[in-house]
Symmetry: C2
Subunit: 349 residues, 2 copies
DNA sequence: CGTTTTTATCAAAGCGCTTTGGATGATGCA
DNA sequence: TGCATCATCCAAAGCGCTTTGATAAAAACG
């Protein structure tokens, strides 16, 4: 059933039927009722393809899921983010177009999406410290919002980010307050912007208190469980193993704990751990007292906010750039305790 | 730049330009070359919306991501599956349309997708033992492939599944061979088809050897880390705690291990564990000797196969239904060992 | 009562592409 | 030379919708 058939059947013009269904005022309530009933009865809804051609809008938002050849790895944060954003799109009548692309094809895919007119806007995931996608999209004139930021880019653009620097500064400060000095950082890949900011926060805390940072204790890798395991083993094998570790995601943190258990060490006793917790739906750091002390920020909510911002930017294209900086909360769990020296001191007293 | 402008510019008809770019034979190689060069130079590619209207095909595949209200939970398997499927879509020029919907809206969304003509086919995720979506989609005439099966549905349909029953029968048999009799099963939600088949395999193994199944040791829940932790604690608190546990996913398995560690028990020594491993990209059960003994089947590959099947089904609609049953491999890791009694016996000898 | 305004409807022109059904001229064959 | 065949190219129809500009009927106005 298409518009022509429906309007013929009703003895009305296509114009009137189309307008009746879209809620235009220049159609009487009586006919509107008639049209709506008929549409429902005949299970009619306008053909998406025709509608989009006629209106010139794609009513779709693009998300690119880049896959690197070496580590066929999907960002575990992706699905929760998408869930948050997708709900918003659905509410507003937008479709979500997901493109799985090889890293090296990413730029071409953006170009293609733009010239084909397949989407009205896109979301940029996982920005690098100096991310070329921002310049590209600006040049293409395709509305976009970045989930995160790109430190080296000075032109304005829309972004939603967590205050990673402050979060990690606070996490580090907490460990310093507990007497730890020998603190390791298991961070994400070095070229990722969030990782750079977290390292900066980590260093900030040391410097603010006049302590030196041991750069050898900072590592940057893809955040898998295996990475956490292997790196923690390496750290424990050092002459002076760290007494505390900050880990950029709950996933390597699980690997780290595995290494601790293998070594017969107790989490929060022998080694303190603070993680960054994206509040993944299948990996909640929960309980009356959560397992991990954490800097927490919901990636699901970030998805919602990015979607809202992008839809707003599409509706009002010339309103300048928008930004949202979310603060992470620091929640205390059972994975942190005083440094060994402090513990002995406290036990004595 | 659109087709009209490009063809005017070339002094050719729209027909010829369109055909030249689509590789039709009724255009001379010389003009084709000219057209292709011009298209590249002017950065032309046909408008998706117009193309789709003209051809009557959506060139999109729909995936629904259902979200239940209570547990705002995304299937962790989803992103790896999507990555596998999406790559195939991209290769074949299809877009992937992702719809995040509330559980109760799922049927309506399928209807809407079909009447709007927004997709050429859909993938059904996480089928229930008796899943109404299959009948609905069949009735709608929308091509689809189910990732998994639905035991109670007797009409033919396209599916790609793992032989869950045999995998879990083999896993259980292994534990029985090691002398375990008191074996628990941490399974997924009871109405999920895969969970029913795994329970069946579990029971098969017992019955095949004339042993009774202790139904109290079978539990069904959403497969989070927390579930694994809590359930393992419950099991350990029993009068006769199980000496072995089979767990339907690596995620609750991590929770279970956490509970074991808390209780001071050693994985593979005090309690044996076999998991089902979907080979998630950020959670590889790897190493020279993997941590877990597992039944393994790559969900990434399942995605690829589902995509291939669906595209094939769209291309040849009246070729009857297609099915693929993948066998899981059983890989030995460090999480399994002889039952306590057997261990003592072996130590004596 | 004639004229203007408002209300309710419609015909037709796009949107940018694909595809059908010719046309045209060159080539092959007898 | 005459006719069929082939290789190229084109005009125009159509995909199913939205939207502009116009019209007829009803209501409001002086």
């Amino acid at each position: 059933m298409n518009l022509k058939e429906l309007s013929d059947h009703l003895g009305l013009s296509q114009t009137t039927v189309s307008r009746a269904l879209d809620g235009y005022p220049e159609v009487s309530e009586r006919t509107r009722k008639r049209v709506q009933d008929a549409a429902r009865r005949h299970n009619y809804s306008p053909n998406t393809r025709a509608k989009r051609l006629a209106t010139g809008r794609a009513m779709s938002i693009g998300h690119l899921l880049p896959m690197s050849k070496e580590h066929e790895m999907v960002n575990p944060v992706f699905s929760d983010f998408i869930a948050g954003a997708g709900k918003r799109y659905a509410e507003r009548g937008y479709d979500l177009l997901l493109s799985v692309v090889r890293d090296e094809d990413e730029a071409d895919t953006y170009r293609d999406l733009a010239t084909r007119g397949a989407v009205d806007g896109v979301v940029v995931h996982g920005p690098k410290t100096n991310d070329p996608r921002i310049a590209l999209l600006t040049e293409l004139g395709l509305p976009f919002v970045v989930h995160g930021r790109s430190s080296a880019v000075n032109t304005p653009y829309n972004w939603v980010d967590v205050n990673n620097r402050r979060a990690f500064e606070r996490a580090t400060a907490l460990l310093l307050d507990l007497g730890h000095r020998n603190i390791a950082l298991l961070n994400g890949l070095a070229d990722m912007d969030f990782a750079a900011r977290r390292s900066a926060g980590f260093r900030d805390a040391f410097l603010a208190r006049g302590h030196a940072v041991n750069e050898a204790l900072i590592s940057n890798e893809e955040m898998t469980e295996t990475y956490g395991y292997r790196r923690m083993q390496e750290l424990l094998a050092l002459d002076a193993p760290p007494t505390a570790v900050i880990i950029s995601s709950i996933i390597p943190a699980l690997g780290a704990r595995r290494a601790l258990v293998d070594a017969g060490l107790a989490l929060g006793q022998d080694v303190s751990v603070v993680i960054h917790d994206d509040d993944l739906s299948y990996f909640r750091n929960e309980g009356d007292v959560p397992t991990y002390t954490a800097t927490r920020s919901s990636v699901h909510e970030a998805g919602r906010r990015v979607a809202d911002m992008l839809l707003e930017a599409i509706a009002n294209p010339d309103k300048g750039s928008r930004t949202i900086l979310m603060e992470a909360e620091v929640t205390l769990g059972r994975s942190t305790g005083p440094a060994p020296a402090v513990r002995r001191f406290l036990d004595q007293a």
